[in-house]
């Protein structure tokens, strides 16, 4: 185990796979511009390349390279930059295996940061995860710890499908214990980050930290929250969530996106349909307010869910129902 910042753990995952598989490529804007860039030095320019600011071509090239047998990782930096190339992300990469009747595979990873609620204003702060999760053929990964960042990146690279790897910008420098050597985290296996019997809180990305913070505050008043981090939202480990709700009878979903574009809302709908008999109170959602993220610091903080709002929602759900 080593203490690594989240961002270094992602790189460790890419290194792990590039070392073992010569078919893995890594490319994007503003990387590999000198010979001593760590990936260029290790793997050479055949496999590591800088691209111009051309997201459509970058992602499209990844698709073609993947269909031809390689495993590209595209460094996109920010999820919003994928919006420039949404056809390639949503309507090219996930379609080819299906439309070809299973003749081709499209193993690629789109690495993108999101949710940079640190004064990045309206166009670099989105929490776009839900946009990708309902697209058949696409997998969507949202690590919240450094260890998972490494292990999920490695699994994403080995996966034979297009994977959107969403890493939260506010976790970038968070340190965590990261296993040395080969580390893989399976897709579709949620992690119970804290156990508790009174209420289930489901959160992804940076919101996992805030949910854990809220759970600690609630414990002081005798409310024991179970915090679940799905880690991958496509595939989604609904079973772990349903098992928890069967135990607690109460569910609060926390998501950094505005109410109608959340992963949490989809989880809430699934639990309402498949876990209704377990529920002892209505499901509550804690989301960003329905607005573009403002620049000004107090306004930004007002819009994004925080511990206090999660605590308030949990108190409310504890006071309602049977």
């Amino acid at each position: 185990m080593a203490q690594l910042p989240f961002i270094a753990a992602i790189d460790a995952g890419i290194h792990q796979e590039m070392r073992r598989d010569p078919n893995v490529l890594y490319f994007g804007q503003n990387l590999a511009t000198t010979e001593n860039h760590e990936f260029v030095a290790a793997y050479g320019h055949d496999r590591v390349r800088v691209t111009p600011i051309s997201e459509t071509a970058e992602i499209g090239i990844a698709i073609g390279a993947a269909m031809a047998g390689l495993r590209p990782v595209v460094e996109l930096y920010m999820a919003e930059f994928m919006l420039v190339a949404m056809d390639q992300v949503l309507n090219e990469a996930p379609r080819f295996r299906y439309m070809s009747g299973g003749q081709v595979k499209v193993p690629l990873v789109l690495k993108a940061g999101f949710g940079f609620a640190a004064g990045w204003a309206g166009q670099h702060t989105g929490s776009l995860t839900a946009l990708f999760m309902g697209v058949p053929g696409l997998k969507v990964v949202v690590p919240s710890t450094a260890a998972d960042a490494k292990g999920l990146m490695a699994t994403a690279i080995r996966d034979d499908n297009p994977v959107v790897f969403m890493h939260h910008y506010l976790l970038t420098l968070e340190h965590g214990e990261v296993p040395d050597g080969e580390h893989l985290v399976p897709f579709g296996v949620a992690e119970v980050r804290r156990t508790g019997g009174d209420v289930t809180i489901v959160a992804t990305g940076w919101m996992v930290n805030r949910a854990l913070g809220a759970a600690a505050m609630l414990a002081a008043e005798g409310i024991h929250a179970e915090v679940i981090d799905p880690r991958t939202v496509a595939p989604l480990d609904l079973d772990t969530i349903l098992r928890s709700v069967a135990k607690t009878g109460r569910l609060v979903v926390v998501d950094q996106a505005p109410r109608h574009s959340t992963v949490g809302g989809i989880i809430a709908a699934d639990v309402a349909e498949f876990g209704f008999s377990s529920l002892r109170a209505p499901i509550l959602q804690v989301n960003a307010l329905d607005t573009t993220v403002p620049y000004s610091e107090p306004l930004e903080a007002y819009v994004i869910p925080d511990e206090a709002r999660i605590v308030a929602a949990v108190r409310r759900v504890m006071q309602t129902g049977r």
Binding site: S54, A57, I61, A68, Y98
Partner: protein, 342 residues
């Protein structure tokens, strides 16, 4: 093998492939009336582009790849795909090339090097560059043929990809089949180069690669131009943009209508939209398939009787494809959930 002066045998083989594309497409078109309702959605025919397709793909070698747009029936026929499986795919049947999951717009045959077809204009151009990157890494002088239309050259994907492909010297040949129309919009209405009277191949200059315009109705002219482009790519010198001028002899596609309205192929947009019947009829007079037959017969390479026999043989092959497709059952319902993920 140089194809700069193809042998008589090679020329007959090229003519045969042109005939096969034409006869296949004629049957797709006819199927709308002979078997109403069996073809759904939208189909796009390659009639008029046969010489361009065959002249280009005559340079295809094992290990090469080709990618195209939704107007994709011609290429796999030349590469060796079974027309029965193609027609069954167009009819959505279990014996289809893609198990009925893709249809006319998404024909794919990996075994024969036909990697995939995007239905979104221009979207497949970077895919070809990606496959070319893979070929570059393999280092076996393999190349990728990237087919698209003139309309696609107005997409960002085209410009972004040509820039990168040239910068990285990717072994790809960008084959722009310029048929003069983006559905019902003429090139001059949407393309600054066309409006200025310039060939569309001039766009290559912006990306520091050769740009060539060729008469895409002359298979031997295409063959010669592609010889250079393919040699350049195989030598690791980078891509070429070839503008191959063709005339699409059918409308953009069959009519777009909700279920219940019988689908069919309307007249070409030159007539229905622009009233230019003479333009269309001139194109028909220049039809590359009978024209090349004339060239071969006149040169004594093929007798009229042999050409007729060839036509009959190809017609029988394509009739059998229709018969096979119509008789093929639909896929099992649960197969709709297969192949979502690898």
């Amino acid at each position: 093998m140089s194809l700069q002066s193809p042998s008589a045998e090679q020329k007959v083989a090229m003519f045969t492939q042109m005939l096969r594309i034409r006869e296949f497409e004629e049957r797709v078109k006819r199927t709308f009336t002979e078997y109403p309702g069996v073809i759904r959605g939208h189909t796009h025919l390659a009639d008029g582009a046969e010489a361009s397709i065959v002249g280009t793909l005559s340079h295809f070698k094992p290990g090469d790849a080709a990618l195209a747009t939704y107007r994709c029936h011609g290429y796999p026929l030349v590469l060796g795909t079974d027309p029965k499986a193609m027609m069954a795919e167009i009819l959505g049947r279990v014996d289809g090339l893609c198990k009925g999951l893709g249809g006319s717009m998404h024909l794919t045959d990996v075994e024969h090097g036909f990697l995939g077809t995007s239905g979104i204009v221009g979207a497949g151009i970077p895919h070809a560059a990606g496959a070319a990157w893979a070929a570059q890494i393999r280092g076996k002088r393999e190349v990728v043929f990237c087919f698209f239309g003139d309309g696609a050259s107005k997409q960002g994907a085209f410009h972004e990809t040509l820039n990168i492909a040239s910068l990285w010297k990717l072994p790809v040949i960008f084959v722009m089949e310029n048929n003069g129309y983006n559905v019902v919009t003429t090139s001059a209405q949407e393309d600054a180069n066309a409006a200025a009277g310039e060939p569309l191949a001039i766009k290559a200059k912006a990306y520091a690669m050769p740009g060539v315009t060729v008469d895409g109705t002359d298979p031997l002219a295409v063959l010669a131009v592609m010889e250079k482009a393919v040699a350049r790519a195989r030598a690791g010198e980078g891509p070429t943009l070839v503008e191959s001028t063709v005339y699409r002899l059918s409308a953009h596609g069959n009519i777009i209508a909700p279920p219940g309205v019988p689908l069919h192929y309307p007249e070409h947009e030159a007539i229905t939209v622009f009233g230019k019947r003479e333009e269309y009829e001139a194109a028909l007079r220049g039809d590359p398939v009978p024209r090349f037959r004339g060239v071969l017969v006149q040169a004594g390479i093929l007798s009229a009787e042999a050409a007729d026999a060839l036509s009959a043989q190809v017609a029988a092959e394509m009739d059998a494809a229709v018969k096979f497709a119509v008789a093929s059952p639909f896929p099992a319902l649960e197969s709709a959930l297969d192949n979502v993920y690898a």
